[in-house]
Each structure stands twice: as C-alpha cells, then as structure tokens.
Symmetry: C2
Subunit: 209 residues, 2 copies
C-alpha cells in the first residue's frame, strides 16, 4: 500500500548530492525533470521521471517517464507532488528543493502547504536546510543535530498555543504572527525538541549554522 | 523630513557587493550588524550601525552605532527596520538579505510584512532576487529587465482580484492561494508589467534566470 510507503521527490535545485538526510532505500522515487541529475549523483534509480524536460534537454526514454507541456500551471515539483498524491502516497519528502532562485524556494514552500492541505505529511530536505509545516493541534519531536538551528515561523497570519521545549529559548503557549519573526535561530539543547502548534499553520525550519 | 527620504538597510547575508539595484546616493544607511561588511564592499558610509556585533566580532567604535543584547527577540534586520520606522522613514529598502540560510530568508520576508503593516513601503534587494509585498487595492508597475523572471505568490491565504499585464502569461482578476503556486516564472514582455492585488497580500519576486 503506497499510503504506508515513503515517496521521495527529487527536485531540480542546484544543491547537488550532499543532502542533510538520505533518501530512504525503499522509497518510491519521482524525479521532477532535472531532479534526474540528483538521482544520478546519488546513484538512485527513479521509479518515475516527469516534467516538460526543458531543463533536462532530452526526454529520458530508457526510464519510466511522463512528459507534460512546457506551458502549464504547475511547477515541476508541484506536478510531482500531485502525482505522488494520486498514487496514494501520504509521506512525501522533497529533496534538493533549496539553493536556487527565491521564486523556486517559495513555490516549494507553497507545495508543502498543498500537500498538507491534501492530508499528506511533507518535508523539504536540502543540503543545509530542512523545512516542514505543522497543522493546528500537532506536536512534533525534532532530534538534536550538532551545528543546526531551529526556527519557528507563523505561516498562517497567526499561530497561537505555540510551545517549544528542549530548546535554548523555550516557549510556552506563545503566539507568533507572520509580521514578527520571533522564533528565529533557536537551538535544540536536549536530545530532541518538542514543538506544538495550537492553532494556525507553523513553518519549522532547521538550518545548518 | 525622513518620510520623504529613502532608508537603506544593509543586511548581513552572504551576498557580497553585486546588488541588482544600487543603494541610492542620498539614502540614510543603517547597517544591521555584519551588514557593515556590505557597506565596506560598496564603499558606503553608514549613518548608523546596529546589532549585538556578535557576527562582526567587534563594536565599530569609530562609527555611529547602537549596541543591543545578543539575546533579544528581534533579528538584526528586524531591529534595523524598527529603528528606521522610529526615525520616520517610510521608504525602506533592505539590501543583501538573500543568499544565506533559509531561516534568515523567511525572517527577512516577514520583516517586509512588519514594515507594510506599519504603513511603510519596503523591498528586499539581493544579487539575483528582489521581493516586495503588495497590499489590497494596490497597483505597481515593474520595469522589464532582460533575463529576469516575475513571480506572484499569495502571501496571505488567498489573494483575489489579481491582475498582471505586460507579461507572457497575463492574468485578469485571478485568485491565488498559498497552497497553489500558480504565478511562478512569468516574464515581463512589455516595457513594464502592471500588477494589481485586489484583496489579500501578494508577494512579488523577481529572480535572475
């Protein structure tokens, strides 16, 4: 059942190869267009390559692939996310989404929201950054990692009931707003941090210092 | 009157020197901590240097400066933005805010919102990216620039009445949502694009292709 299996989407960002978390061995791998380069760098065999292949320059005929028009509403990564949902995946990890243009980064963050709205768990994983969105009422544990920061942002206009423990600047039932980046550059001091989002949608970013 | 004068905030991002728009000659210049390096690279004389000076390593005694505690709620850039508002500036441009950690980029985008909420015009200017937020009912003209893309994102949950003309993919009275990055990688085909945001808050990003 795909809803029990991880789907790894390899995006076409310029971050080449050195990911902060590995692609799980048994993941179903979708390459979003030039994300195929990342698969090659990581010696991973794609289960599906999709896109308009404009950034790749050629259709990868020897691999399972799906060609879409160049002029479309979806970005390649959003298209891959939509395909993952259609195949029943609910644990979706997008690799190589950072390090490029700001518009691509924003589109990838919005793809997280698209996936969460559709009921999936989703995370963006890069070389020096990792990001995910938390829903109202969720609690997550984040393992400590030497040399990394932990930052919390209101992604919706406001997040209330935000708590963070196991961190240098703890927060208890706090409110974050989109106009006040209060939760930047915290760090995990215990084995793991526990983050709760009471209401709203909270953006969690771990960055390498 | 400061409300007629531009305030340039130089942030401490790793983008060194090669900005896509220059700092206006008569701007009031605030360096946010290690943003002082950017001032030095650009041969600009700061009117004020502020921060905890942890990233600089030393207090710049020979320059007008304001030292703040290392452990504070504001990021250095938000502190500079707050100071600019207190001094009466309403046209605030933040330089060198991109190219570093994703948490810093998000904090800088949220600083835009802080400034817009306070009634100021604000823009983030980097080497290969430029970003600003539009309020409900606003229309902006954006000059065409060879080799740059134009992307529109709902920064609030939804933006309605979004129009874009003078672009390859025009939009008339459209709706953007935060979960669907529809407006990515458009390009300006006329001398300038005209963008209107009917309701909500629209994030406009220009990125070098």
């Amino acid at each position: 059942m795909n809803n029990q299996r991880i789907c790894a989407i390899l995006a076409g960002g310029p971050e080449a190869g050195c990911l902060c978390l590995p692609v799980p061995e048994d993941a179903y791998i979708i390459c979003a267009d030039s994300g195929l380069h990342l698969a090659e760098t990581l010696s991973l065999k794609p289960d599906l390559v999709l896109g308009d292949f404009d950034s790749l320059g050629a259709v990868p005929e020897s691999l399972p692939h799906m060609t879409v028009p160049v002029e479309k509403d979806d970005t390649d990564t959003l298209l891959a996310a939509r395909t993952a949902l259609e195949k029943g995946f609910r644990d979706i990890r997008i690799y190589g989404a950072f390090g490029g243009r700001l518009d691509h980064t924003l589109a990838n963050l919005q793809t997280l929201e698209f996936l969460r709205d559709a009921g999936a768990d989703a995370v963006l994983i890069g070389t020096g950054n990792l990001a995910f969105l938390m829903n109202s009422g969720e609690t997550k544990r984040i393992p400590q990692r030497e040399g990394w920061s932990l930052s919390l942002f209101a992604w919706s206009q406001e997040c209330t009931g935000v708590s963070a423990s196991g961190v240098y600047y703890p927060l208890q039932n706090g409110t974050l707003t989109r106009a006040f980046p209060l939760g930047v550059s915290n760090r995990i001091t215990a084995d793991s941090a526990e983050i709760t989002c009471g209401s709203g949608r909270l953006l969690v970013i771990c960055s390498r210092l």
